[in-house]
Subunit: 404 residues, 2 copies
């Protein structure tokens, strides 16, 4: 394992990155426009929603990052710029406005939008505020982290420091989540910066693989949105020799990136719409990584498991049942399920059947801000972890009248 | 189209079937034991849960129906007889008890259980009541339909009459649903009877195909249980010549069966846990049946669509979005979405984008006991229909403390 040191500053922790966020007028009062810029040209890579219906900023960013290079990211919240006439033009215009302020090319900007689907994005407020926003660029990530939030109740930031070839490399990220978060990206935005020196191809490969174990293991409500994106910019300012594929340096970079993305994923799960607790599902003893991931995702996504968590009910039958419809087979008679938290740990089922357990102890374990379900398959050495949250009255309340 | 006439009497509408239901003591007060018997030997077929975790009654029924013959069905509610030591023995014992009362073979009984997972099924109350239950067998299906209910708020029955080779053939069914209902069978039980003369192989083939368009197009909460089963008995007492594969008679039988199973599926959706309305999704203009089914299921299963329905919100963006992650591709720019009910019909999106619509009219259409979402793909001639319900506060309430 590489030595990973957590640091503050998120996207502005790596050398050469500035950020800013402000209220431009898409939302009524809250911050709704964010800008992230690298002082030096950067390798760029991104992973996108798998939804057939892709918002305009997704297709524009795909084009802009096709050459593996970028200088910045412009993002708004309050409007998803999805499923509207003129969406493409608006997304391009956002890049042009940002680039013009900084003497850069529009093609070197990624663009992201999050918010309501199907309402035209008025470019006016963005055009009239972009000068002010560019003037606010600083080494603080706070306002940008806030400006990408929608129904999020807190901003999500993470950063770490690793050693690569005797150089100190930093990786930082901000994210927004809340509604519609599900494996394979949802209305989730994550922007990662690093001062590592790494080529775009390897960066893209590492990001895609990392997402399988971070953002794609995240589920709030099973819906996958039209606007999701995780983009990473690597500007090389740490001064390390270019990271080579298959090297120890690559492995260190993977671990650093994983530290940041997994932390952001957990923060998103914790802040799921209406969530009262973070649910972590750890599958161990699997025959393959795919089997472990499928079962972990299935359990963490089950509405019945989620409501049981909300009700502090150690309903292991629902957990086993959700594993059973994950689409992968496993020997039920070797399984073991335990529920744990900072308040204790209780084995609730073994060999596919109930074991006698103390209901009071189980209740105590369940009454915590983070509950961990350990699901052991007893078949192999592979494991996976997924994050979600409970399903509460407030989820229904928030989503019963979001648009109106 | 065959001429289908709806009749009353459900499973006792076809000639030669008797049924009974009673309270034996598995539940505190409500009916919990049901028996269905055919006077004559019957062809038998069933479809089962796809969950890797299968309850004991499922495996026992699979064995008993392997020869394509059966005489009856014994079922209990209140306990799922799943994931417990001795489950297999208890399920076998239920068949033996029923068979002994009627001078039949245990191997000629299907057995089903529904209720809590992971608690041992006490055979005592069943053993001491089976004599009384056998004595209650009559041509009324009512008590049996009630005895298989769990959190269902009403019993579910359907029957119809068709002409096959100048003979009147009847098909009837009862079902229970409520929680954990999802495509590919969930804690859903459906028992179908018919006096048609049809061999077990063709019966099995027709049932499997029918389930694709009836019970498997049903979603209440995305969970697929360990105990689901739809079993059909055909005793031939209508006196028709055996139905031949590929004949007009087969087609008439398919349509009659579909009438019964689709009606039961809709009743289950309407009675989803906490549901305030039935949601019907009709996908048309698809290139293939599979594409149509996948999109219909994805929309009807979306938590965000379901909460929007609960909130009477014409949130077409969520509908389009759910179609987009159905796992099949389609040209977004040819889609058209409308929302309708007995109170009117409103086109809410076209060509993948919002159309101007009257919010008051949309609200009016949404405020109904059944809301229909029409999703047109504009690409081909295939269609599919799926049924579900809205996601309400009560769903969370019911499922937050089911076990405790």
């Amino acid at each position: 394992m590489a030595k990973i040191k957590e640091v503050s500053g998120s996207i502005c922790a790596p050398a050469g990155f500035k950020a800013a966020g402000m209220h431009c007028g898409i939302k009524k009062e809250k911050k709704d426009l964010a800008l992230i810029v690298s002082e030096a040209p950067a390798s760029a890579a991104a992973v996108y929603t798998t939804n057939v219906v892709k918002a305009a900023p997704i297709t524009v960013t795909m084009e802009h990052l096709a050459d593996g290079k970028a200088r910045g990211i412009i993002a708004n919240s309050g409007n998803a710029n999805a499923c509207v006439v003129g969406g493409q033009e608006a997304a391009e215009k956002m890049c042009e406005l940002a680039a013009a302020q900084l003497g850069l090319l529009a093609e070197d900007f990624a663009v992201a939008s999050t918010g309501v689907i199907g309402q035209s994005l008025d470019i006016g407020p963005i055009a009239s505020s972009i000068g002010e926003l560019a003037g606010m660029l600083s080494h603080s990530a706070q306002s940008a982290a806030e400006a990408i939030m929608t129904t999020d109740t807190f901003d999500k930031q993470a950063a770490c420091e690793i050693e690569i070839g005797a150089k100190t490399v930093r990786i930082g990220g901000i994210a927004k989540g809340s509604g519609m978060i599900h494996p394979n990206m949802a209305t989730m935005l994550a922007f990662i910066t690093t001062d590592a020196n790494i080529g775009p191809e390897l960066l893209s490969e590492i990001l895609s693989q990392d997402a399988q174990d971070s953002f794609n293991m995240l589920s709030v409500d099973g819906d996958t949105s039209t606007n999701d994106m995780c983009a990473v910019l690597a500007n090389g300012m740490a001064g390390n020799d270019p990271i080579q594929k298959g090297s120890a340096e690559e492995e260190a970079f993977r671990q650093g990136l994983g530290f940041v993305t997994k932390k952001l994923a957990r923060l998103i799960a914790e802040d799921g719409e209406g969530a009262t607790k973070l649910l972590t599902v750890k599958v161990t003893g699997a025959e393959s990584k795919e089997q472990a991931r499928a079962i972990a995702k299935s359990i963490v996504s089950s509405s019945l498991v989620k409501t049981a968590m909300f009700g502090n009910d150690a309903n292991w039958g629902r957990i086993l049942c959700a594993a059973g419809y994950a689409g992968v087979s496993f020997p039920v008679d070797r399984t073991k399920i335990s529920i744990s938290s900072e308040h204790g740990s209780v084995v609730v089922a073994q060999n596919g059947m109930q074991v006698l357990f103390d209901e009071a102890e189980a209740l105590k374990a369940l009454q915590a801000k983070e509950v961990i379900v350990d699901f052991s398959l007893g078949s192999g050495q592979e494991s996976a972890e997924a994050w979600g949250c409970d399903l509460s009255y407030d989820y229904v309340k928030i989503n019963g009248s979001y648009r109106t």
